[in-house]
Symmetry: C2
Subunit: 152 residues, 2 copies
DNA sequence: CTCGCTATTGCAACGAGTCGCAATAGTCAC
DNA sequence: GTGACTATTGCGACTCGTTGCAATAGCGAG
């Protein structure tokens, strides 16, 4: 799939890069193609793997550096999964968050309203503006809490 | 400093381990000594380094495995810093959380009340019990927000 | 004190990133 | 087109952890 025929905002990435004095390279093209075919969240390692699928000569550091640039363009946003590993949000839209139950291992998303409520609770007195989507919050889901009476 | 002369809960670790069918080893002793001299939060790498200071033959995997065991005893709790790296809370007491400003790089703690408020906001409809202290929340502090009019 | 069971260690290899640096190759100007 | 300027790449080394496995060594029993 040619990058030019991808939907926005992917098709204009090359121009946006050049306008900033940055360059459009085959390696970046590969990353864009992969991102256009992804959605929601993908780990860094997974993105590297998919790039390698399109171009076996892909080097990890190049992918990560490209992702840094794309983050500056607002096309991805990086965060961390429950194990602290790099995780990328493709085309970050509404504010949202991630919950992970350490007992059953399940993961949820929380939507805009709740994410905003949490941000408000956190802003509190000192005005800190949290990016709730950056991390994966860990805890225990209602089912697991109910299932266990006393377990740390 | 002999472990036996350390204050509780450190001095009783050997017994607690044995009672569980686990063992008291020189390597674990080293970790305990280091933990007793630490407070608040320490990264995994830092702990390994300090252990190496007491015993040059310290092996990282042994330290991490010991920390896992101590977490089961409730003596430490692991979490992740702003970069997703392993971070340990020594003698976790009150619920608390961590904030990190991605712009100025400063880090704060939030106390029990606010941490509880956030947990409440998050619990919301589905009853998820978050361990707010597990991760370091990232965002921007009030000063940096004020200082910047328009910066993603 | 000795024995045996098995928890723990040390080691080596691996996974996920990050970083510095020399070589390569986009881009823009002419 | 050609050239020069410099952003980017590829590579190697390194950090932080994790895991499997064979060898070691706690610890309770007798």
């Amino acid at each position: 799939m040619a990058v030019e025929s991808l939907p926005e905002p992917w098709s204009s990435v090359s121009d946006r890069l050049r306008r900033r004095g940055l360059r459009w390279t085959p390696q970046r093209r590969t990353v864009i193609e992969v991102l256009a075919g992804a959605d929601g969240h993908v780990t860094g390692a997974e993105l590297v793997e998919r790039c390698r699928g399109r171009d076996a000569s892909t080097i990890p550091s190049t992918v990560y550096r490209t992702l840094d640039v794309l983050e500056e363009l607002g096309l991805v946003r990086h965060g961390h999964d429950a194990n602290g590993r790099e995780e990328f949000h493709v085309l970050p839209a509404a504010e949202h968050g991630h919950l992970h139950c350490r007992q059953c291992g399940a993961t949820w998303e929380i939507g805009d309203e709740r994410a905003t409520a949490v941000a408000a609770a956190l802003r509190g007195a000192d005005g800190f503006e949290v990016d709730i989507g950056h991390v994966t919050l860990v805890g225990r889901c209602a089912d697991c809490v109910a299932r266990t009476v006393a377990t740390s």
